[in-house]
Amino acid sequence: MQYMLLIYEDERIYGPDRENPAARERRAQHVAYSRELGATRLAGSGLKDSTAATTIRTAAGKQTIHDGPFAESREQLAGYYLIDVPDLDAALAVAKKVPLSQNGAVEIRPLLVPLVAG
């Protein structure tokens, strides 16, 4: 099964341009973890700061463009992994080892339609 791992963290700890030491350290951890995952990882990346986010909201069929992320919260969507594993337990095992600061969350969501490799 294919799962999307959505990483939520308080992005302020990584500085506005994601270049402070904490950000560099985390990035190195993600690179190492991606290598460790090998073929299990189909895709993945960190995301730029939520101040770079733009949201198109649709209400009653009418679209409006907004500055900022969809949900305002202390933790923001900070990155994702797309993985291919046999079942939820395997996905949980991968998600538990996703590099994360002291506080944060990884949401595990099965893909509705699996991505075809190639």
Binding site: D87, L88, D89, L92
Partner: protein
């Protein structure tokens, strides 16, 4: 065969068959529906030809065929059936009369109690699928309407199917996390049965199921102290059931129960499980709880003094490994008996009322201690607080009697 005997035969076979089908086809709904189909066919066939020699085997074969038929039908309807379903149909020999029903109940318990399933649905799902209780029975035990409970079960089953919850028993490395979810679920389920003190009510079968499920779990995981401890706790508690209410349906507190009314064979059974648990891990929280039950059940008659000192020592030990308000409250009760009412009260007052405000035993214990300390007005207020919370009729009667004594 009357429909009542049929119902019993179906329930007896249900957990094992649903579990075997679910782990074979990796589909809870298919397992449940196929078993229901098999029961419907049994009603017809058995009343015509008489019951078969082995009702369980008959139901299993029939349910298995129903499942395969359903999968074939689905495959014709949707030409892109998942690979798994085709394998399920073609690679498995059909069970016949001599095929033993594989015992996959442990696997199914781990599926129902997966941490990814909503906690409020785990117990209900286990009771439904593993114990074969009806939605109505479970709804009554959980004080929910039947549609609400049915919704909860549907959501949980959908989550299991869509999130890809595995139908494997997890490896021992995952047990600390997974086993606790299982045992807590059973504790919640049993708590519901235990609340009905008289035990003659809607939970009668339910308590029997708890004896069975803890027996199965302890048998399947004999090297886990916690599973034996839970089997022991449920037996000690069930052994005391006949003494828990008086002729008027009023609750009798543990220290006032007549030990001669307790069910001796269940106590013997409970001790056997406790010995097993103690030999593995004597200081684990559930083992300590079982030892507390054992201390009570060692009492032979009301003439013998209640074992409060031993109880207090065990709660002291339990507090070290499980510091929560329920343990603290129970310890305070023992403390009041050993060191006096004031000591017990002082202990309770350190909790701070806030987090326990909705907890009936907190008010009941506090009211009793205040009354014994001669603080009658405060005691009356505490009894009112206890009575304002939902209680079973046995508890309500007892609380009302206590309050009435106070104002005499």
């Amino acid at each position: 065969m009357t429909s009542a005997t049929l119902g019993l035969a179906f329930r007896d076979a249900s957990g094992r068959i649903v579990a075997a089908l679910a782990s074979r086809f990796r589909d809870l709904d298919l397992a449940e529906d196929s078993f229901a189909d098999a029961c419907a066919r049994a009603l017809e066939a058995w009343s015509r030809e008489g019951p078969p020699r082995d009702a369980g085997a008959w139901l299993y074969q029939t349910a298995y065929r129903c499942a395969v038929d359903t999968l074939r039908r689905r495959r014709t309807e949707h030409r892109f059936a998942p690979e798994l379903q085709r394998n399920a149909i073609e690679e498995q020999p059909m069970p016949d009369e001599w095929t033993p029903i594989p015992d996959e109940r442990l696997r199914l318990i781990f599926v129902c109690c997966h941490p990814a399933v909503a906690p409020d649905a785990r117990a209900a799902l286990t009771l439904r699928l593993v114990c074969g209780l009806s939605t109505r029975e479970i709804a009554r035990a959980f004080l929910l309407s039947e549609p609400t409970l049915a919704q909860r079960l549907i959501r949980a089953k959908r989550k299991i199917a869509e999130a890809g919850v595995s139908f494997e028993v997890p490896g021992p490395e995952a047990w600390p996390e997974r086993l606790d979810a299982v045992l807590s679920t059973i504790e919640i389920a049993y708590g519901r049965a235990h609340e009905d003190a008289a035990g003659s009510g809607p939970h009668f079968n339910y308590a029997a199921e708890m004896l069975e499920i803890t027996r199965v779990l302890a048998g399947l995981l004999p090297h886990e102290a916690q599973t034996s401890a839970l089997a022991s706790i449920v037996r000690f508690a069930e052994a005391r059931r006949p003494a828990r209410v008086d002729a008027h349906g009023m609750m009798i507190p543990l220290a006032d129960q007549d030990p001669s009314a307790w069910i001796e064979p269940l106590i013997v059974d409970a001790r056997r499980y406790l010995d097993q648990a103690v030999s593995l891990h004597p200081h684990e929280p559930r083992v300590l709880q079982a030892r507390i039950h054992a201390a009570w059940c060692a009492r032979q008659s009301l003439a013998e003094p209640a074992p409060w000192r031993e109880i207090l020592a065990l709660y002291d030990e339990l507090l070290i490994v499980r510091d929560d308000s329920i343990v603290r409250l129970n310890r305070a009760v023992a403390l009041a008996e050993v060191q006096g009412v004031e000591a017990g009260l002082a202990e309770i007052e350190t909790f701070g009322a806030q987090p326990l405000d909705d907890f009936l035993p907190y008010h009941a214990v506090r009211a009793d201690l205040l009354c014994r300390a001669g603080r009658r007005e405060e005691a009356r207020i505490a009894y009112d607080a206890a009575l304002s919370l939902v209680a079973t009729s046995a508890e309500r009667l007892w609380l009302e009697r206590q309050r009435a004594v106070l104002t005499e």
